[in-house]
């Protein structure tokens, strides 16, 4: 059995959106290196409830890096800084005995805090609702093999489509920009032939909604790509900018 660890946690606690919030300190003792980071928080929470306190609220569901629920900044880095890893997949073997760990929510104007580490990310959904789709009705479609798709393009589309919508890109960006998220969706749909008819509408509508939600601008620092648990490439932002420019020209806006 690997050695158990004792850790000090500094956790952001905030009762609701109106509360100013504060850091509180907790002790996390007897932590096994085999635990995931969230299991470590579970242990701390069991202790808190046991001593009559309210547990630390945080989002999680799948706990295997695919649903995009978990969302916390660990020691200053969204998801804790292991390459291609969500907080729920991060394991305690990457920490060492005696360490102090700081845990904060995603911080961005467009992601108000509900409580503690739980934030409101519905802005992402609203961006999707403006154009993150191909307008086909159920049943009104051709045979799946009627439209061949080149394997390379399909693979590239999949690279973008892997985005789990967690919002780490926003949390990591000093401008709280959502460009990587939006770029992933626009790129995915513009890369497949089925997505062509709505290409321009989609790019314009999604970018507009992104701006309206209060996300900042991209200054290409690359911090989003660095923390993205699905390693979505910055190249997609360049692609989105091309899509957007192309749409403006086609629509005669410039």
């Amino acid at each position: 059995m690997d050695k158990l660890m004792n850790l000090k946690l500094k956790v952001w606690r905030q009762d609701d959106a109106d509360d100013v919030g504060r850091f509180e300190e907790y002790q996390a003792d007897d932590i096994s290196p085999d635990m995931s980071f969230l299991e470590m928080l579970d242990v701390v929470n069991e202790g808190l409830i046991g001593s009559g306190k309210e547990p630390i609220a945080f989002d999680s569901d799948c706990r295997e890096g695919i649903c995009g629920s978990c969302s916390m900044v660990i020691n200053g880095t969204a998801h804790g800084g292991q390459k291609g890893t969500t907080a729920c997949q991060l394991h305690m073997r990457h920490f060492s005995d005696g360490m102090t760990i700081t845990i904060e929510p995603w911080r961005a104007t467009a992601f108000p805090v509900h409580r503690d580490l739980v934030v409101d990310r519905t802005a992402f959904d609203r961006i999707q609702q403006k154009g993150g789709f191909i307008s086909v009705r159920t049943g009104s479609v051709p045979d799946a093999n009627a439209i061949p798709v080149s394997k390379d393009e399909s693979d590239l589309a999949m690279d973008a489509a892997q985005c789990i919508g967690c919002g780490a890109c926003v949390a990591a960006c000093k401008n709280a920009s959502a460009m990587l998220f939006v770029a992933a969706k626009i790129s995915h749909l513009s890369l497949v032939p089925q997505g062509q008819p709505e290409r321009e509408r989609r790019a314009l509508a999604m970018v507009k909604q992104m701006d309206d939600e209060g996300f900042g601008n991209c200054t290409v620092t690359g911090s989003c790509e660095a923390v993205c648990p699905k390693e979505i490439s910055l190249d997609f932002i360049a692609r989105m900018n091309r899509e957007y420019g192309r749409a403006l020209i086609k629509k005669g806006t410039i």
């Binding site: 609701d16 999707q128 159920t138 093999n145 999949m158």
Partner: protein
């Protein structure tokens, strides 16, 4: 209780077409006057909500996650079946139908399964049109793989993230309808009860999980798409929030719960590493295409491995027992899930497990790497190997993986007729939440197929039959006695949970319950154990209501309170699972009764006495529920003993 399955007459292959013609239609101009509630935004719920809205109905859709895109369907890895026969390897609707009925060990309803196989082809068309980036061949056409023991290549996939891509496709259609104002979406909202008026489902009561506000919603029909109840076991491959609350509370209002004992234990999951474990991780079944399952032949070698004195590579080829290949020469490592899981349990019970706890076996890629090269293995399974390493810290290219079975899927669910309506008029149930298509065992890549079949292609038609008989103005005011009364029940339950103020956390009760169900109603069951569980669970439930500790209050985001509500339902439901397992004096699919096995240790069905759906009726608190039977008649497929030898 009336369990009329309403199976259409006529030859099997024509039933669905005939039925679609016979179904009543709602006048297109009238559809906008109807409101439908869809609870759940997974594959089944999102596809249903989007399609109903496209047809013109007004839809309210609810989910407990912060976004519909995060429903548990997102986690499905392996793929989705469809009888496209794109590989020209002899697949057909009939073959998929046949395989599914056989795979379900002759405990599913034939007509439903046939329809599922029929519409499977439409699903792939639909998803491709939504831009789902399925795997492709160089010629640009769709690629397939063979999955879960199927002898044809009919599984479509998107890397190891098929569920994610299918769900994002359904979510995109749903998002479009939300944008158009046809669907009103309620994320972070938990359904806590269904409202019945004159025996018909007319709405639901929900809790806003951020503010704690309780509200009532009325509609002309209610659709539950709330997923499976695998988390009754506490540890499972399901997401943390998966629960039985919606379906169980509907059961308490009169909906029959069918086959609750049918659960699927998936053979290839990462073994439990300690008491802190919060959930288990599935390693995709596709790994069994190239990985070989083994344990040492001798118990003493296994013990040395457990103590860390020997490694897998120290065990000579001749000292290894590739037990699936040995016992099932024609299917080998690709036997169905229930068979693989049970044999793994046997090997570990025999003292030949290879992880510290004794509960784990090897899944070895050494031969595949020799045969295909490491890069080909990486190409096929790279993301799975990475995931494995993240969790265990071990590199599976160098050392074999260790795996153990884990609860994965629940075949049981609310009883529905051919139209997917429960015995409560106006209450429909789709996806994993219903019971109908997988019998006693589900084949790999069939749940995604069923969820989308139900949501895109079945429910949107069949619900019209019911709505055509309901006048648009026949919608109950949410201030009616029924709505107000149901809300009071919900509030009373919440107050009760908060007022116990005992010592134990909801998790501690959940963990203890899960252990009881896993031990007595897991991979192998017997009369003594089940009877013991039926005694223990009510005791635990009694303690829960005396010693539960839920801090905080209702009026804010309170995750302990959410969890406590779900655990309360599992504590009642777990008992129902055991009762169902006890009554089913046979072995079939995932339900293995130790008393009923062949001399070789295989599941022994009793078709004469048990070819029925066991549907339970709630009879009141602490009352024994009543079992009703829907007899299963096989017109098309001849019932045989499954053999994978």
């Amino acid at each position: 209780m009336n369990l009329d399955a309403k199976i259409p007459s006529g030859p099997m292959a024509q039933k669905w077409d005939k039925h679609r013609f016979d179904l009543k239609l709602v006048n297109p101009a009238n559809k906008r006057k109807y409101e439908v509630i869809v609870v759940g935004s997974g594959l089944a719920g999102a596809s249903a909500a989007a399609t109903l809205a496209e047809l013109g109905y007004n839809v309210k859709c609810f989910c407990f996650q912060d976004s519909p895109r995060r429903a548990h369907s997102i986690a499905a890895q392996g793929g989705i079946n469809a009888a496209k026969n794109y590989q020209n390897d002899g697949d057909s609707v009939h073959r998929l139908f046949y395989d599914t009925v056989k795979g379900g060990d002759y405990r599913s309803r034939e007509a439903n399964v046939h329809r599922l196989a029929q519409v499977s082809v439409n699903i792939i068309d639909q998803c491709a049109a939504q831009g789902v980036p399925f795997a492709r061949e160089y010629g640009g056409l769709l690629a397939n793989r063979s999955f879960g023991g199927a002898q044809v290549s009919r599984t479509f996939y998107a890397r190891g993230q098929t569920g994610q891509q299918l769900l994002l496709g359904a979510y995109s259609s749903l998002s479009r309808q939300i944008g158009l104002g046809k669907v009103q979406m309620f994320p972070r909202t938990e359904m806590l009860d269904v409202v019945l008026v004159d025996g018909h489902a007319k709405g639901i009561v929900v809790r806003d999980m951020v503010s704690g506000e309780i509200s009532r919603h009325s509609a002309h029909a209610v659709v539950l798409a709330t997923g499976g109840y695998g988390n009754a076991f506490f540890l499972s491959t399901n997401a943390m929030g998966c629960n039985v609350t919606a379906t169980f509370r509907a059961y308490k209002r009169g909906a029959a719960f069918a086959n609750p004992c049918y659960t699927q234990i998936h053979p290839t999951c990462i073994p439990v590493s300690g008491d802190h474990q919060s959930k288990l991780t599935l390693m995709s079944e596709s790994l069994r295409n190239d990985g070989r399952v083994w344990v040492p032949k001798s118990q003493s070698v296994a013990e040395k491995i457990r103590k860390g004195e020997l490694k897998a590579s120290d065990v000579a080829e001749g000292d290894r027992d590739y037990y699936l290949e040995r016992k099932y020469p024609s299917f080998g490592n690709l036997v169905p899930r229930d068979v693989a899981s049970r044999n793994t349990k046997e090997a570990c019970d025999d003292g030949r497990g290879v992880v510290g706890s004794g509960l784990g076996v090897y899944l070895d890629f050494e031969d595949a790497i020799k045969r295909l090269g490491e890069s080909a293995v990486r190409e096929r399974y790279g993301n799975l190997f990475d995931m494995y390493e993240k969790i265990t810290g071990s590199n599976a290219y160098q050392n074999p993986m260790t795996i153990f079975p884990a609860v994965h899927y629940t075949m049981g669910g609310l009883w529905v007729d051919y139209n997917l309506m429960s015995n409560v008029p106006g209450l429909y149930v789709v996806g994993e939440a219903n019971f109908s298509d997988h019998g006693a065992n589900r084949l790999g890549a069939s749940a995604l197929m069923q969820g989308l079949a139900d949501g895109y292609f079945v429910l949107p038609y069949t619900i019209g039959q019911y709505l055509a008989g309901v006048a648009p103005d026949d919608r109950t005011d949410t201030n009616s006695a029924e709505f107000v009364g149901t809300e009071e029940t919900v509030r009373a339950q919440i107050d009760k949970l908060l007022s116990v103020k005992g010592k134990r956390t909801p998790t501690s009760f959940h963990r203890e319950l899960g252990q009881i169900i896993w031990d007595e109603c897991g991979m192998a069951r017997n009369k003594t154990g089940l009877e013991a569980a039926i005694k223990k669970i009510p005791e635990l439930r009694a303690e829960f209501w005396e010693n539960l500790n839920v801090p905080g209050e209702n009026g804010s985001l309170n995750q302990s309170l959410e969890q406590a509500g779900r655990v309360a339902d599992f504590l009642e439901f777990g008992e129902l699972m055991c009762r169902d397992a006890l009554q089913r004096e046979e072995s079939c699919g995932g339900h293995f009764r130790e008393e009923h096995q062949t001399p070789e240790g295989e599941a022994k069905r009793d078709d004469k006495n048990f070819s029925f759906v066991g549907a339970w009726e709630y009879k009141g608190e602490n009352q024994t529920p009543e079992l009703h039977k829907e007899n299963l008649v096989y017109e098309e497929v001849k019932m045989t003993q499954r053999s994978y030898k």
